[in-house]
């Protein structure tokens, strides 16, 4: 299940959907990203997230497919929000269920790491003066390349 949406999501309901994936599931790993107050004085009041409709969903499906080839993945659910988000809002959810915990953790982390460097989303930090587009982090690229 892949959803790119402006509305918030219920991580608990996503977990329940994964739990209902069948009796062979022994492990569920989830990750949620929140808009973090980075604590500096830049006056950021929120984020604006833009995406490339159509391509985004295809890229994410490709990541789930690749994770399913590399690990035992019974079901994966990915939700990514777009539009205006406030501090502490949920941005992204990745949940994976598997027979085994090593596979659930690895697939969940792989999808999340790869999503950050290959899914066409762009973040703008919003301030009172307007905003600025966030630059890609070298650490995210390195983390994603670590899976290859």
């Amino acid at each position: 299940m892949i959803s790119v949406q402006t509305e918030d999501f219920d991580a608990g309901a996503e977990y329940q959907a994964l739990r209902n994936s069948g009796s062979g599931t022994g492990a569920i790993a989830t990750f949620t990203g929140l808009v973090r107050d980075s604590g500096d004085l830049s006056g950021v009041t929120g984020l604006f997230l833009e995406h490339y409709p159509g391509m985004t969903e295809q890229v994410i499906q490709g990541l789930i497919d690749e994770a399913s080839r590399r690990w035992d993945v019974r079901e994966a659910r990915v939700i990514h929000r777009v539009g205006s988000l406030a501090l502490s809002d949920q941005i992204v959810f990745v949940g994976v269920c598997s027979a085994h915990r090593g596979d659930a953790f690895a697939a969940c982390q792989f999808i999340m790491d790869a999503l950050k460097t290959s899914a066409p989303f762009w973040k703008k930090e919003v301030t009172a003066e307007g905003g600025h587009w966030v630059e890609q982090k070298a650490s995210d690229v390195a983390r994603s390349e670590g899976w290859q």
């Binding site: 997230l49 490339y52 066409p120 989303f121 587009w133 966030v134 630059e135």
Partner: protein, 86 residues
């Protein structure tokens, strides 16, 4: 006979700085992404950044592509900065 065209889309910072979301464009001579970028960059002003120092990512028909990727009539070509989701 109609001139073959492609659709070009821009996202995020490029969309804002070029003040263009989407445009129709003649299929470039030579038909590669690199040649298209060179043509667009020749418009000058903000467009010059398309062949500048900052990385520009390209997708053709919603799949990541490279400078050498050949274009065909009807293709959807998208240019955007490195992605920053998640």
């Amino acid at each position: 006979m109609t001139t073959p065209t492609i659709t070009i889309r821009f996202f995020a910072r490029l969309r804002e700085e070029l003040d263009t979301e989407s445009m129709s464009h003649p299929l470039p001579e030579g038909q590669t992404v690199a040649e298209l970028l060179s043509t667009l960059s020749g418009r000058g002003g903000a467009w010059a950044q398309l062949t500048g120092d900052q990385p520009v990512m390209v997708a053709v028909n919603q799949a990541m592509a490279k400078p050498g990727t050949r274009l065909q009539a009807g293709d959807e070509v998208a240019f955007f900065p490195p992605v920053t989701g998640g």
